[in-house]
Symmetry: C2
Subunit: 151 residues, 2 copies
Amino acid sequence: MARPSSAAETPEPAEEAYDLTEQVGFIMRQAAQRHVSIFNEIMGSDLTPTQWAVLARLYQDGGSSQNLLGRQTAMDAATIKGVVDRLLKRKLVQTKPDPEDGRRLIVELSPAGIDYTRELLPKAETVTKVTLAPLATNQRATLIALLKQLR
Amino acid sequence: MARPSSAAETPEPAEEAYDLTEQVGFIMRQAAQRHVSIFNEIMGSDLTPTQWAVLARLYQDGGSSQNLLGRQTAMDAATIKGVVDRLLKRKLVQTKPDPEDGRRLIVELSPAGIDYTRELLPKAETVTKVTLAPLATNQRATLIALLKQLR
DNA sequence: GGAATATCGTTCGTATACGAACGAGGATCA
DNA sequence: TGATCCTCGTTCGTATACGAACGATATTCC
């Protein structure tokens, strides 16, 4: 019962067809969208994830130069500038020149920004909890460990 | 040797401080950034991940209405319009009214778009491979399974 | 048939995201 | 000291991303 073989046949067993919906990038984009949606629901639409990243970073470690702040929050120089500008407009952060380096602009939380950030911290923790809610406890640590390896 | 208890003390053991760099959202954003960077290196800067998503989806399943296409590629109506417009300008897709529904605009690959997509398929597979390269084989399946649960 | 409702595509405004280019300031080293 | 190189902040242009509102068309239901 052997099949007749022909030169045109490809001998490879089941060459996987490209399926967009199975690619990491596509799935990760969807997961990120869901996360942002949860963020907006819980934190309110007046603060974005990147803006929160800046506030949280400044709250944790105090002020730093604008470019360094960008590196710490995973934004390039152009992006962090826009974010800082918008936080400045809302007076949640304040800036001053670095006395030790004329190129640098030090960004730090304003007193109002400190209060604002402190009040939002519990909500931020909830965002993470809700995002990870579909996973079992041990799966959450696994996911985070795997994602860290992809950075 | 019991500690004197006071009303101000919190009895909880080791309240976890909020650390931005340990939150899924932040880590996922970094992983996504790395992925896009790999995508741009391999696919060339003349095509974005979302544009590729549209081409790949149309290549797999043929034309569909613009809004449906957006849902299939995880973009809202406003976003998919911009993406389709830019692909139209490059003549990689073409549109026509749906004869069965006067509201719908059918989007499909142009002949040039079919060729273009077919040529890029191997590179798209490479993008996924390179993105997942830091992980062991079994970890890759785990990561994808976990991300799918977060959508 | 006709009214309420839903979907489709479009437009506007705002916010990331990032490559590229630029001038000003700082560091290195001959 | 001076030339070279690097870093910092800024600006421009392009591309997602999405809420909100709008008119046009379909569908549903009475």
